[in-house]
Protein backbone atom coordinates (compact mmCIF):
# COMPACT_ATOMS: atom_id res chain seq x y z
CA UNK A 1 0.00 0.00 0.00
CA UNK A 2 2.97 2.25 0.46
CA UNK A 3 3.43 3.16 -3.18
CA UNK A 4 -0.23 3.61 -4.18
CA UNK A 5 0.55 7.02 -5.68
CA UNK A 6 4.02 8.17 -6.62
CA UNK A 7 5.91 9.11 -3.41
CA UNK A 8 6.48 12.79 -2.63
CA UNK A 9 10.09 12.18 -1.57
CA UNK A 10 12.76 9.63 -2.31
CA UNK A 11 12.66 6.88 0.35
CA UNK A 12 16.42 6.95 0.82
CA UNK A 13 17.66 10.52 0.56
CA UNK A 14 14.49 12.60 0.99
CA UNK A 15 14.77 14.64 -2.20
CA UNK A 16 11.36 15.99 -3.27
CA UNK A 17 10.44 14.12 -6.48
CA UNK A 18 6.63 14.03 -6.50
CA UNK A 19 6.30 17.08 -8.76
CA UNK A 20 8.45 15.43 -11.45
CA UNK A 21 6.38 12.26 -11.86
CA UNK A 22 3.71 13.47 -14.29
CA UNK A 23 6.27 14.98 -16.66
CA UNK A 24 8.39 11.82 -16.48
CA UNK A 25 5.38 9.59 -17.13
CA UNK A 26 4.05 11.55 -20.09
CA UNK A 27 7.49 11.86 -21.72
CA UNK A 28 8.29 8.15 -21.31
CA UNK A 29 4.87 7.21 -22.68
CA UNK A 30 5.68 9.30 -25.76
CA UNK A 31 8.68 7.04 -26.32
CA UNK A 32 11.61 8.96 -24.81
CA UNK A 33 14.46 7.13 -23.06
CA UNK A 34 13.73 7.10 -19.28
CA UNK A 35 17.41 7.57 -18.40
CA UNK A 36 17.73 10.71 -20.50
CA UNK A 37 14.45 12.13 -19.15
CA UNK A 38 15.70 11.62 -15.57
CA UNK A 39 19.00 13.34 -16.41
CA UNK A 40 17.11 16.33 -17.79
CA UNK A 41 14.82 16.48 -14.75
CA UNK A 42 17.93 16.70 -12.54
CA UNK A 43 17.44 13.34 -10.80
CA UNK A 44 21.05 12.25 -10.41
CA UNK A 45 21.37 9.77 -7.55
CA UNK A 46 20.41 6.15 -8.16
CA UNK A 47 18.23 6.03 -5.03
CA UNK A 48 15.95 8.67 -6.59
CA UNK A 49 16.14 7.16 -10.09
CA UNK A 50 14.87 3.77 -8.92
CA UNK A 51 11.82 5.53 -7.41
CA UNK A 52 10.78 6.51 -10.95
CA UNK A 53 11.87 3.37 -12.80
CA UNK A 54 10.23 0.92 -10.38
CA UNK A 55 6.94 2.74 -9.80
CA UNK A 56 3.61 1.22 -10.90
CA UNK A 57 0.52 3.44 -10.60
CA UNK A 58 -1.68 0.96 -8.69
CA UNK A 59 -4.01 3.72 -7.47
CA UNK A 60 -5.73 3.89 -10.85
CA UNK A 61 -6.65 0.18 -10.60
CA UNK A 62 -7.62 0.21 -6.93
CA UNK A 63 -9.87 3.25 -7.42
CA UNK A 64 -12.14 1.23 -9.73
CA UNK A 65 -13.12 -1.09 -6.89
CA UNK A 66 -13.41 1.59 -4.16
CA UNK A 67 -16.90 2.50 -2.97
CA UNK A 68 -18.75 5.39 -4.55
CA UNK A 69 -19.28 8.17 -1.96
Amino acid sequence: MIKLIFPIRCFTCGKPIGHLWEEFKSRVEKGENPGIVLDELGVKRYCCRRMFLSHVDIAYDVIKVSRKS
Binding site: L4, I8, C10, P16, H19, E22, V62, K68
Partner: protein
Protein backbone atom coordinates in the same frame (compact mmCIF):
# COMPACT_ATOMS: atom_id res chain seq x y z
CA UNK B 1 41.56 28.85 5.45
CA UNK B 2 40.57 29.03 1.83
CA UNK B 3 37.05 28.90 0.48
CA UNK B 4 35.99 28.73 -3.15
CA UNK B 5 32.40 28.46 -4.36
CA UNK B 6 32.61 25.78 -7.02
CA UNK B 7 28.97 25.62 -7.93
CA UNK B 8 25.87 27.58 -6.96
CA UNK B 9 22.33 27.02 -8.12
CA UNK B 10 18.91 27.79 -6.69
CA UNK B 11 18.80 24.60 -4.63
CA UNK B 12 22.43 23.51 -4.54
CA UNK B 13 25.77 24.79 -3.32
CA UNK B 14 29.25 23.27 -3.59
CA UNK B 15 32.13 24.71 -1.58
CA UNK B 16 35.83 23.95 -1.67
CA UNK B 17 37.47 24.34 1.75
CA UNK B 18 41.11 23.96 2.67
CA UNK B 19 43.05 24.26 5.93
CA UNK B 20 39.90 23.57 7.90
CA UNK B 21 39.82 20.50 10.13
CA UNK B 22 37.31 17.82 9.19
CA UNK B 23 35.47 18.01 12.51
CA UNK B 24 34.51 21.66 11.92
CA UNK B 25 33.01 20.94 8.50
CA UNK B 26 31.38 17.78 9.80
CA UNK B 27 29.69 19.58 12.68
CA UNK B 28 28.28 22.09 10.18
CA UNK B 29 27.11 19.23 7.96
CA UNK B 30 25.39 17.45 10.83
CA UNK B 31 23.71 20.65 12.01
CA UNK B 32 22.43 21.27 8.47
CA UNK B 33 20.78 17.84 8.52
CA UNK B 34 19.40 17.71 12.04
CA UNK B 35 19.23 21.18 13.61
CA UNK B 36 18.33 23.88 11.08
CA UNK B 37 14.57 24.48 11.46
CA UNK B 38 12.08 24.56 8.61
CA UNK B 39 8.31 24.42 8.18
CA UNK B 40 6.35 21.19 7.68
CA UNK B 41 2.85 19.94 8.39
CA UNK B 42 2.76 18.08 11.69
CA UNK B 43 -0.92 17.66 12.58
CA UNK B 44 -3.82 16.92 10.26
CA UNK B 45 -7.44 17.02 11.42
CA UNK B 46 -9.91 15.23 9.16
CA UNK B 47 -13.51 16.37 9.12
CA UNK B 48 -14.42 14.12 6.19
CA UNK B 49 -12.55 11.44 4.28
CA UNK B 50 -14.49 9.59 1.63
CA UNK B 51 -11.52 8.86 -0.58
CA UNK B 52 -9.80 5.51 -1.14
CA UNK B 53 -6.87 6.47 1.13
CA UNK B 54 -6.52 6.02 4.87
CA UNK B 55 -6.30 9.17 7.01
CA UNK B 56 -2.75 8.22 8.05
CA UNK B 57 -1.65 7.81 4.45
CA UNK B 58 -2.87 11.30 3.50
CA UNK B 59 -1.42 12.85 6.66
CA UNK B 60 1.97 11.27 5.96
CA UNK B 61 1.98 12.52 2.38
CA UNK B 62 1.01 16.05 3.50
CA UNK B 63 3.83 16.05 6.04
CA UNK B 64 6.43 15.36 3.36
CA UNK B 65 5.41 18.34 1.21
CA UNK B 66 8.20 20.94 1.53
CA UNK B 67 6.94 24.39 2.57
CA UNK B 68 8.66 27.73 1.97
CA UNK B 69 10.09 28.74 5.34
CA UNK B 70 12.51 31.59 4.76
CA UNK B 71 10.38 34.41 6.31
CA UNK B 72 8.81 31.92 8.75
CA UNK B 73 12.09 31.39 10.62
CA UNK B 74 11.86 34.81 12.24
CA UNK B 75 8.06 35.02 12.28
CA UNK B 76 7.15 31.88 14.22
CA UNK B 77 8.23 30.51 17.59
CA UNK B 78 11.03 27.93 17.78
CA UNK B 79 10.16 24.20 17.55
CA UNK B 80 10.64 23.41 21.26
CA UNK B 81 7.94 25.86 22.38
CA UNK B 82 5.49 24.80 19.66
CA UNK B 83 5.67 21.03 20.18
CA UNK B 84 4.43 21.47 23.75
CA UNK B 85 1.26 23.29 22.74
CA UNK B 86 0.76 20.77 19.92
CA UNK B 87 0.69 17.91 22.43
CA UNK B 88 -2.08 19.79 24.28
CA UNK B 89 -3.99 20.07 20.94
CA UNK B 90 -3.62 23.84 20.91
CA UNK B 91 -2.63 25.56 17.69
CA UNK B 92 -1.68 29.18 18.54
CA UNK B 93 -1.23 31.41 15.47
CA UNK B 94 2.28 32.47 16.50
CA UNK B 95 3.36 28.84 16.17
CA UNK B 96 1.16 27.25 13.54
CA UNK B 97 0.16 27.90 9.96
CA UNK B 98 -3.17 26.43 8.96
CA UNK B 99 -3.52 24.81 5.55
CA UNK B 100 -7.00 23.85 4.38
CA UNK B 101 -7.92 21.24 1.84
CA UNK B 102 -11.49 20.91 0.67
CA UNK B 103 -11.86 18.80 -2.42
CA UNK B 104 -14.63 16.76 -3.95
CA UNK B 105 -15.09 14.99 -7.25
CA UNK B 106 -18.67 15.39 -8.40
CA UNK B 107 -18.07 13.98 -11.86
CA UNK B 108 -17.45 10.41 -12.99
CA UNK B 109 -13.77 10.50 -13.97
CA UNK B 110 -10.67 10.78 -11.80
CA UNK B 111 -9.52 13.99 -10.14
CA UNK B 112 -5.96 14.52 -8.94
CA UNK B 113 -5.48 16.87 -5.99
CA UNK B 114 -2.20 18.78 -6.11
CA UNK B 115 -0.23 20.62 -3.45
CA UNK B 116 -1.41 23.93 -4.94
CA UNK B 117 -4.94 23.08 -3.75
CA UNK B 118 -3.82 23.58 -0.15
CA UNK B 119 -5.11 26.97 1.06
CA UNK B 120 -2.59 28.47 3.44
CA UNK B 121 -3.44 31.00 6.15
CA UNK B 122 -0.03 32.65 5.62
CA UNK B 123 0.92 33.49 2.01
CA UNK B 124 4.62 33.26 2.94
CA UNK B 125 4.27 29.61 3.97
CA UNK B 126 3.05 27.53 1.04
CA UNK B 127 4.18 24.40 -0.82
CA UNK B 128 7.48 24.92 -2.63
CA UNK B 129 6.30 22.91 -5.63
CA UNK B 130 2.78 23.51 -6.91
CA UNK B 131 2.20 20.24 -8.74
CA UNK B 132 2.95 17.47 -6.25
CA UNK B 133 0.07 14.97 -6.57
CA UNK B 134 -1.33 14.38 -3.09
CA UNK B 135 -4.40 12.24 -3.71
CA UNK B 136 -6.59 10.86 -6.45
CA UNK B 137 -10.35 11.13 -6.05
CA UNK B 138 -12.74 8.82 -7.89
CA UNK B 139 -16.35 9.68 -8.75
CA UNK B 140 -18.24 10.92 -5.67
CA UNK B 141 -15.15 10.97 -3.46
CA UNK B 142 -14.69 13.81 -1.00
CA UNK B 143 -11.97 15.00 1.37
CA UNK B 144 -12.08 17.83 3.88
CA UNK B 145 -9.22 18.44 6.27
CA UNK B 146 -7.22 21.09 8.04
CA UNK B 147 -3.48 20.72 8.41
CA UNK B 148 -1.24 22.56 10.86
CA UNK B 149 2.36 23.30 9.98
CA UNK B 150 5.03 24.40 12.43
CA UNK B 151 8.78 24.82 12.62
CA UNK B 152 10.68 21.67 13.48
CA UNK B 153 14.13 20.14 13.36
CA UNK B 154 15.45 17.25 11.30
CA UNK B 155 16.39 15.20 14.34
CA UNK B 156 12.69 14.99 15.24
CA UNK B 157 11.57 13.91 11.77
CA UNK B 158 13.40 14.08 8.46
CA UNK B 159 10.57 16.11 6.88
CA UNK B 160 11.83 19.14 8.84
CA UNK B 161 15.35 18.88 7.48
CA UNK B 162 15.96 21.68 4.95
CA UNK B 163 18.64 19.70 3.08
CA UNK B 164 18.02 16.48 1.19
CA UNK B 165 21.76 15.89 0.90
CA UNK B 166 24.68 17.30 2.86
CA UNK B 167 27.90 15.60 1.88
CA UNK B 168 31.63 16.03 2.46
CA UNK B 169 33.86 14.75 -0.32
CA UNK B 170 37.57 14.09 -0.01
CA UNK B 171 39.77 15.37 -2.82
CA UNK B 172 41.46 12.44 -4.57
CA UNK B 173 45.00 12.33 -5.90
CA UNK B 174 46.29 9.57 -8.16
CA UNK B 175 50.01 8.81 -8.43
CA UNK B 176 51.39 6.63 -11.22
CA UNK B 177 54.84 5.13 -10.71
CA UNK B 178 56.41 5.57 -14.16
CA UNK B 179 59.18 3.04 -13.49
CA UNK B 180 56.69 0.26 -12.81
CA UNK B 181 53.86 1.15 -15.20
CA UNK B 182 53.70 -1.34 -18.09
CA UNK B 183 53.38 0.54 -21.42
CA UNK B 184 50.89 -1.88 -23.01
CA UNK B 185 48.72 -2.28 -19.90
CA UNK B 186 45.36 -0.47 -20.11
CA UNK B 187 43.62 -2.14 -17.17
CA UNK B 188 43.07 0.96 -15.02
CA UNK B 189 41.46 2.78 -17.95
CA UNK B 190 39.02 -0.07 -18.53
CA UNK B 191 38.07 -0.48 -14.89
CA UNK B 192 37.66 3.16 -13.77
CA UNK B 193 33.91 4.02 -13.56
CA UNK B 194 34.60 7.78 -13.74
CA UNK B 195 37.11 7.81 -16.63
CA UNK B 196 39.90 9.37 -14.60
CA UNK B 197 42.69 7.80 -16.72
CA UNK B 198 43.58 8.41 -20.32
CA UNK B 199 45.93 6.54 -22.62
CA UNK B 200 49.14 8.11 -23.92
CA UNK B 201 52.02 6.79 -26.06
CA UNK B 202 54.17 5.98 -23.04
CA UNK B 203 51.41 4.40 -20.96
CA UNK B 204 48.66 5.88 -18.82
CA UNK B 205 48.08 9.41 -17.60
CA UNK B 206 45.66 10.98 -15.13
CA UNK B 207 43.24 13.42 -16.76
CA UNK B 208 43.27 16.66 -14.73
CA UNK B 209 39.70 17.57 -15.62
CA UNK B 210 38.22 14.21 -14.59
CA UNK B 211 40.14 13.59 -11.37
CA UNK B 212 37.55 15.46 -9.29
CA UNK B 213 34.92 12.92 -10.40
CA UNK B 214 36.88 10.06 -8.79
CA UNK B 215 34.69 8.26 -6.26
CA UNK B 216 37.64 6.70 -4.37
CA UNK B 217 36.66 3.12 -5.28
CA UNK B 218 40.33 1.99 -5.38
CA UNK B 219 39.62 -0.36 -8.31
CA UNK B 220 42.61 1.06 -10.23
CA UNK B 221 44.92 0.06 -7.38
CA UNK B 222 43.49 -3.45 -7.13
CA UNK B 223 43.57 -4.18 -10.86
CA UNK B 224 47.11 -2.91 -11.57
CA UNK B 225 49.43 -5.95 -12.12
CA UNK B 226 52.62 -4.08 -11.19
CA UNK B 227 51.25 -1.99 -8.29
CA UNK B 228 52.11 1.22 -10.07
CA UNK B 229 48.91 3.13 -9.24
CA UNK B 230 48.43 4.72 -5.85
CA UNK B 231 45.27 6.57 -4.80
CA UNK B 232 45.40 9.02 -1.91
CA UNK B 233 43.25 11.81 -0.51
CA UNK B 234 44.56 15.28 0.29
CA UNK B 235 44.96 16.33 3.92
CA UNK B 236 42.68 19.12 5.19
CA UNK B 237 41.04 19.79 1.83
CA UNK B 238 37.37 19.01 1.39
CA UNK B 239 34.35 19.70 -0.75
CA UNK B 240 31.07 20.42 1.04
CA UNK B 241 27.89 19.90 -0.96
CA UNK B 242 24.46 20.96 0.24
CA UNK B 243 21.30 20.19 -1.69
CA UNK B 244 18.22 22.00 -0.45
CA UNK B 245 14.66 20.67 -0.52
CA UNK B 246 13.52 24.15 -1.54
CA UNK B 247 12.22 25.21 1.88
CA UNK B 248 15.32 27.34 2.54
CA UNK B 249 17.98 28.58 0.14
CA UNK B 250 21.39 26.86 0.47
CA UNK B 251 22.88 30.20 1.58
CA UNK B 252 20.34 30.53 4.39
CA UNK B 253 20.88 26.91 5.46
CA UNK B 254 24.63 27.52 5.84
CA UNK B 255 24.16 30.79 7.71
CA UNK B 256 21.61 29.26 10.08
CA UNK B 257 23.81 26.23 10.74
CA UNK B 258 26.75 28.44 11.69
CA UNK B 259 24.51 30.52 13.94
CA UNK B 260 23.27 27.38 15.71
CA UNK B 261 26.80 26.00 16.12
CA UNK B 262 27.96 29.32 17.59
CA UNK B 263 25.01 29.32 19.96
CA UNK B 264 25.83 25.81 21.19
CA UNK B 265 29.49 26.63 21.81
CA UNK B 266 28.76 29.89 23.60
CA UNK B 267 26.12 28.16 25.74
CA UNK B 268 28.69 25.55 26.75
CA UNK B 269 31.24 28.18 27.74
CA UNK B 270 28.58 30.12 29.66
CA UNK B 271 27.58 26.97 31.57
CA UNK B 272 31.22 26.27 32.41
CA UNK B 273 31.56 29.79 33.75
CA UNK B 274 28.44 29.48 35.89
CA UNK B 275 29.70 26.20 37.36
CA UNK B 276 33.02 27.81 38.20
CA UNK B 277 35.12 25.47 36.03
CA UNK B 278 36.96 28.32 34.36
CA UNK B 279 38.21 29.88 37.64
Amino acid sequence: MELIVLNKRKDFIELYLSNVPLYIINSIRRIVISEVPSMAISTVIFTLNRSMFYDEYIAHRLGLVPLTSEPALSKYKPPEECSESEEASLFPPDCFVKLDLDASNNGEGLLTIYSKDLKSSDPEVKPVYDDIPILILGGGHKVKLEAYARLGRGREHYKWSPASAAVIKYIPEVFIDRSRCLPECRKCIEVCPRNVFKATDSGVEVSEAAIINCNLCHLCEKVCPSEAVMLKTRENEYILRIESTGSLSPKRILLESIKILEGKVSELSRKLEVQGVLK
